[in-house]
């Protein structure tokens, strides 16, 4: 199969991933190669098969709804690339 460069750019936008023109070209070829291999599952008859998202049967795991201490603010902020007061600083969404 082939994947158009515009489609690669669209998926990269969804993934919040900047790609250079050269990366877009390479990604189009590599993704098409992997998707060709994945296409083998199209041959299977799976119409009446239930999908599996979790292999070992588990019931909902619930805990008592009680307040507990959470991560201290200073520890949560300790690895921040930039902070503003008690929060994480980021560039404006609409610069």
């Amino acid at each position: 199969m082939t994947i158009e460069r515009a489609e690669v750019r669209h998926v990269a936008r969804l993934a919040r991933l900047a790609l250079s023109d050269e990366e877009v070209d390479r990604m189009a070829v590599e993704l098409a190669g992997v998707l060709d291999h994945i296409a083998t599952i199209e041959q299977l008859d799976l119409d009446d098969v239930e999908p599996t998202s979790h292999v070992v049967a588990v019931e909902n795991a619930l805990r008592a709804d009680q307040p507990q201490p959470s991560l201290h603010r200073e520890r949560a902020l300790a690895s921040a690339p930039a902070r503003a007061g008690d929060g994480f600083a980021v560039p404006s969404p609409q610069a």
Binding site: V8, H10, V11, A12, L14, A15, R16, L17, A18, L19, E23, M27, E30, L31, G33, V34, L35, H37, I38, A39, T40, I41, E42, L44, L46, V49, E50, P51, T52, S53, H54, V55, V56, V58, A61, R63, L71, R75, A76, A78, S79, A80, P81, A82, F88, V90, P91, S92, P93, Q94, A95
Partner: protein, 479 residues
């Protein structure tokens, strides 16, 4: 070679607990050896020994794959985007093992976010195979496997999503166990594919694997909603034969695509198994040939979602000079992620995107159901399934980096068990020459059983290990 380093972890623990060996001396011996690592197996080594341990594991130090969060210690998942990241807490399994007397020796190299089969995708350079430094140790837990094989660590933690414990264990000539999904808490493991990721031991022998694993399982972890209480304790294996067991050999995973030398070692091991009293017969896993295709939809799809958290806001790398928020995200992720991680994020995002979900993700989940059903059918007649762990011996550095699909095919024999969530162990079963010639390299033998069959699996692997008498000391001089 220091005699202390030749003790198995279980023997070292026993010696410390009996007062015949000083725990501090043991830790220092390994710290010195790990600190002089020439294989790039370690990304960080402890500077100070821990206080003397009274735990049942005797203070035998533990090497831990980089992707486990360790409080105040770099935990980078092999990625530039987490370079220097110091987590504010430790993974449940790391805490449990430290409390049981296995303190942190160091953090080991891995493929970035565990995506790879050679450890060449690490942002911090590849790890070298101690049997032949021109070759890869396998991956993604290649640093842990190389460290254990080269006696840089007594034992190690790895993680397995599609083969990332078993395949490097095979390529380095050691033992690796992928547990039943849910048996070990994933809390504090930097996630790759949440429905597949499992932590497990990499060790010199089966007894060490059972000893370490016994302290990894237990009560379910309130911090991991998918973790399960393990039914009963893990026993130290003692079995000396395989009488009464039935071993199935799936035609789909033991023929085409497997190197002749690997196949010869595998078949010789099957004869040995029969000699130990087990019934060995062909079986069928008709959907196994489709496992890799399903896996390379499901795992990247989950990864594309899990890796959305790396956005330069709360921790890790942030690209400087961006004019607005979206540009900050996209440039941070462009600069911070390596090529294979970007490829999988793109593949996963594509598979989940509008219009493609049913064709890819939905179908792959249905294939997963068929694969689990195949195993369930086989386990009605057989106790275990046997395959080679990897289709080949360790390959040369760079041999497969240009072709993603060739690299993915390393997981051909290990991915089906991951999709079914069942336990599987790899033990070294012999040596084989690589197809291009050169010195002999280790071959891994994989045994897989039904969910929660770890005690039986470890018992059978132990009996086979004693009969094989594999000698892994050739790798011990490296490091």
């Amino acid at each position: 070679m220091n005699d202390i380093l030749e003790l198995s972890a279980a023997a070292a623990a026993k010696a410390v607990l009996a007062g015949d060996l000083d725990g501090g001396e043991l830790f220092d011996a390994y710290r010195a050896r790990a600190g002089a690592d020439e294989l790039n197996a370690f990304l960080w080594v402890a500077e100070d020994g821990p206080p003397a341990s009274s735990g049942p594991l005797g203070g035998v130090p533990l090497a831990v794959k980089d992707l486990f969060c360790t409080e105040g210690v770099p935990s980078q998942s092999g990625s530039r985007i987490l370079e220097g990241y110091l987590p504010p807490y430790s993974a449940t399994v790391v805490r449990r093992l430290a409390a049981a007397g296995a303190p942190l020796l160091g953090k080991t190299n891995q493929d970035e976010f565990a995506m790879g089969s050679s450890t060449e995708n690490s942002a911090f350079g590849p790890t070298l195979n101690p049997w032949d430094r021109t070759r890869v140790p396998g991956g993604s837990s290649g640093g842990s496997a190389a460290a254990v094989a080269a006696r840089l660590a007594p034992w190690a933690l790895g993680t397995d999503t599609g083969g990332s414990i078993r395949q490097p264990a095979a390529l380095c000539g050691i033992v690796g166990l992928k547990p039943t999904y849910g048996a070990v808490s994933r809390y504090g493991m930097i996630a790759f594919a949440s429905s597949l990721d499992q932590a497990g031991p990499l060790t010199r022998d089966v007894t060490d694997a059972a000893l370490l694993y016994g302290w990894m399982v237990g009560d379910r972890d309130p911090c991991d909603s998918t973790s399960l209480q393990f039914p009963g304790p893990i026993e130290l294996p003692a079995r000396s034969d395989l009488r009464g067991l039935a071993i199935g050999v799936p035609a789909e995973l033991t023929g085409e695509g497997v190197e002749p030398g690997v196949l010869a070692a595998f078949e010789a091991t099957l004869e040995l198994i029969a000699g130990l009293g087990a019934r060995v017969e062909r079986c069928e896993l008709p959907h196994a040939p489709h496992a890799l295709a399903a896996y390379y939809v499901l795992a990247p799809a989950e990864a594309s979602s899990n890796l959305a958290r790396f956005d330069g806001v709360r921790y890790g790398y942030r690209a400087s000079g961006a004019d607005d928020l979206i540009e900050m995200y996209t440039r941070t992720r462009h600069d911070g992620f390596g090529a294979e991680v970007k490829r999988r994020i793109m593949l996963g995002t594509y598979a989940l995107s509008s219009g493609y979900y049913d064709a890819y993700y939905g179908r792959a989940q249905r294939v997963r159901t068929k694969i689990a059903e195949d195993f369930a059918t086989v386990f009605e007649r057989f106790d275990f399934i046997a395959t080679p762990t990897a289709p080949g011996v360790a390959f040369e550095l760079g041999a497969k980096t240009a072709d993603p699909l060739a690299m993915y095919l390393n997981d051909f024999c290990t991915v089906p068990m991951s999709l079914a969530g069942i336990p599987a162990i790899s033990i070294p079963c012999g040596l084989a020459r690589p197809p291009g010639g050169g010195p002999e390299l280790p071959v891994g033998f994989q045994l897989a059983g039904p969910a929660f069959s770890e005690n039986a699996l470890l018992g059978a692997a132990f009996a086979l290990e004693q009969a094989l008498a594999f000698d892994g000391r050739a790798a011990a001089g490296a490091g």
